[in-house]
Symmetry: C2
Subunit: 462 residues, 2 copies
């Protein structure tokens, strides 16, 4: 049908430099859901949202034109309608256009029990109606930005020739030190040998080891998929199911790793700023008034690089009362320490590097000093750790010894050791929690509000 | 370091119209893995692959230039090296360039036990070394095309404003008629109420129902994530874990659904042809000699649309002995019937539409005839069903009745029924098995060869 358009199309048209061809867009057909319906005696106004754009379209309808005026004026918030009408550009008004309805057709009613009435709902309440909340301003902005950020990630890596690899979700490997895992079974409570895979299977906590195998074939690869933790923690930053991006690069050291991380974070911010200006302005007005200032600062400054050892020295000298004031080399930094470094010392993102080997994972490359590993955490203001990365231990003997010392069963890892046996080389990678990135970019404070249907302890609705 | 390049970079340079600036590229540094090392007494040749490009770079080295000539000439297949050398363009030779080594440095040895010696290995053998097989021509081509196809999917949908939605992997919903599921637990064999989620949890078989919730907010959405079937079937087309793309569109009927499917398939083929010409030529030479002809045909023809009822009439009249020769309206078509329709009748892709409601899922929209539903399967030559889609039942009463008749527990689906209660509208969607698309585009015949680390019964290695 000629004139069938989305609200996004019309906003784009009104913003474009192109002179509108009157006969092309004089009459448009829109479909969408009523956000508000302000009915007057003869003239009424519908704010229509069709999900393609953050802003609504204003529909004007009047009793002289519409034969079903009475009926339409009773349509409640949430009702789905089709509109055919005249597109009127209103460059001097708040909204750049309105549609004068010639015809309004009902697609699907919503009655007064519709849970999203015209008022501010709490984020807690909206979590209970996760199937409807993307129809609100806040959650529609969040989930569009989430989608655009996913595209930013794919674009960033694919443009540089990285190969996207889908590492397995169900895995037989034990996750060393990565926390509790979920068991996957078809034979609940019965013998493991008779189970689907004939042995214990669990949900992956990381695709890194398999990504390494692909990096040593393709040089540059990345994963982007779901990972799982069965931790019984009810915090604002933990979920049982979340998405991770895990790039892995052969012939790369820690410095190069940090270069890529920094480029990626800046690219993602630029991308979402360009693609979602309405949503970003909304977040800056309603969710976190320092958001745009913070993100603009991050885009335009070089990330500081500081060794863990230097950070410890700074924290020791800090004129602050930390809850944990026992600052000593070898400790794991708490959130309060990380916040002090990003918010007070650096006033921006900082890569901490070269952590004590005891507090980091087995696969990280040991430095010359014998005490630290070539690892880095990217810490950013307000969110804390955004990315964790490291150069991987490529020296077979060192890696084997470390795994044995940790009591790992080397039989399960022969394939991983093969990557050092056969043409092993310097390589590095990192992990980015996707939800954490979404929170960082939107200013949202609870992970439950950036996942479409969040999974947390005792919470498996929808 | 100046001159540090990937083999992809150099191939691109040699193909570009731009005059090479000699001082920029005279000396290059490459890193990669030795595919072959043909050592002569004074002059030798290494075929180097760095994973960034399908083709190798030829490295020439001679005894007069290299102080470690003797050592280098002994490097075996699989060894990782760095090369600094002079880039020589050879436009008249088979390879467009070679690199005359000035320096070759060892990064990581591979010895004679390296499982990928220079010979043709069977695909079966390569499955056993899934961590090394992306280093072979065939599997490197497969997994690069897989990656590029994933980007094609994201590009196709995002350019049209579709919102990417990550539907949950762990789910509490029963999967109606979608086959066996995996149970997810932290409390193997103990009480369900004490389990992580406090109730039975399983791995998703489809994100469609949740995607519908998002379509009724954003209009156009798509999923792209892993799905699972615990079916004990050892066929060439089934895996326990595979990736699905599930677009869902509000204000869309079955015709529109088919339009999008057809556009998507054609876009994906175009995209991969443009981005991976070397890989596609390789598949056409080594895997399936009719591949390019078939794909080119698909790109350039309109897909036929034929009702199930018409297909049954054609099959009844067919002058062929089917194994199942009992052709009657209401039956599920077997592969042999589908093949006959695509390969003999249509000689190309065909949408079958309007199937008997008894053989299709509960959420498909019932047609006026009361006997069929607005469903479609896209059948393509050699692969069979590539996509399955339908218009969804948006009429609350009809949907509720159908679910009750099937004995479904409506308590679990109130949120899904809400989508019909509140501003429900005509909507449609489809599911595309990603591995099936990869097989279709590459000509590979076994799903185990298009998944990085395949999961099948009793197979959980890596």
């Amino acid at each position: 049908m000629p004139g069938e358009m989305s609200i996004r199309d019309i906003y784009r048209l009104t913003k474009s430099e192109v002179e509108l061809e009157k006969d092309q867009v004089e009459y448009v057909q829109l479909q969408g859901w009523i956000r508000t319906n302000r009915a007057g005696k003869n003239v009424s106004f519908i704010s229509l949202n069709d999900g393609t754009y953050f802003s609504n379209a204003q529909i004007v309808y009047d009793a002289n034109t519409l034969s079903n005026y009475e009926e339409v004026s009773k349509y409640l918030t949430g009702t789905a309608i089709s509109v055919i009408g005249k597109l009127i550009l209103t460059p001097d008004a708040k909204q750049p256009f309105e549609v004068q309805a010639k015809e309004i057709r009902l697609e699907g009613l919503a009655d007064h029990t519709y849970p999203l009435q015209k008022k501010r709902h709490s984020l807690e309440y909206l979590r209970e109606i996760a199937h409807l909340r993307p129809r609100t301003n806040t959650l529609s902005a969040v989930f569009r930005v989430r989608s655009v950020l996913a595209m930013a990630i794919h674009t960033f890596f694919q443009e540089q020739g990285f190969v996207y690899v889908n590492t397995p979700i169900i895995t037989g490997a034990d996750a060393e030190g990565a926390g509790e895992t979920f068991t996957v079974t078809t034979n609940y409570g019965e013998k493991m040998e008779e189970d689907f895979f004939g042995k214990h299977a669990s949900l992956t906590v990381s695709g890194q080891l398999q990504a390494e195998a692909f990096a040593l074939a393709f040089r540059d690869v990345y994963t982007f998929g779901p990972t799982f933790r069965a931790e019984e923690s009810n915090t604002t930053t933990h979920a049982a199911e979340f998405w991770m991006i895990e790039p892995e690069m052969a012939f790369a050291d820690l410095e190069y790793d940090m270069d890529v991380i920094e480029d990626m974070v800046k690219f993602c911010i630029d991308y979402v700023m360009e693609m979602c200006p309405e949503e970003m302005n909304f977040f800056n007005e309603r969710i976190d008034t320092s958001l745009l200032e913070r993100l603009n600062h991050v885009r335009s400054t070089a990330f500081r690089r500081m060794s863990y050892t230097e950070a410890i020295e700074i924290l020791k000298k800090a004129d602050v009362k930390f809850e944990n004031n026992q600052i000593e080399w070898g400790m794991d930094l708490n959130t309060e320490h990380e916040r002090y470094l990003t918010d007070q010392v650096v006033k921006g993102p900082v890569f901490l590097t070269d952590y004590p080997k005891e507090i980091k994972a087995f696969y990280m490359r040991e430095n010359e000093d014998g005490k630290t590993v070539a690892a880095t955490d990217l810490l950013v203001p307000t969110v804390g750790e955004l990315v964790g990365g490291s150069q991987r231990e490529e020296r077979l003997e060192l890696l084997e010894k470390k795994m044995k010392d940790l009591g790992m069963n080397l039989d399960n890892y022969q394939w991983y050791l093969d990557l050092r046996r056969y043409g092993g080389c310097e390589h590095a990678g990192f992990g980015l929690g996707f939800e954490r990135l979404v929170m960082y970019v939107t200013g949202m404070k609870n992970i439950r509000d950036v996942i479409p249907f969040a999974r947390t302890p005792k919470n498996l609705d929808f």
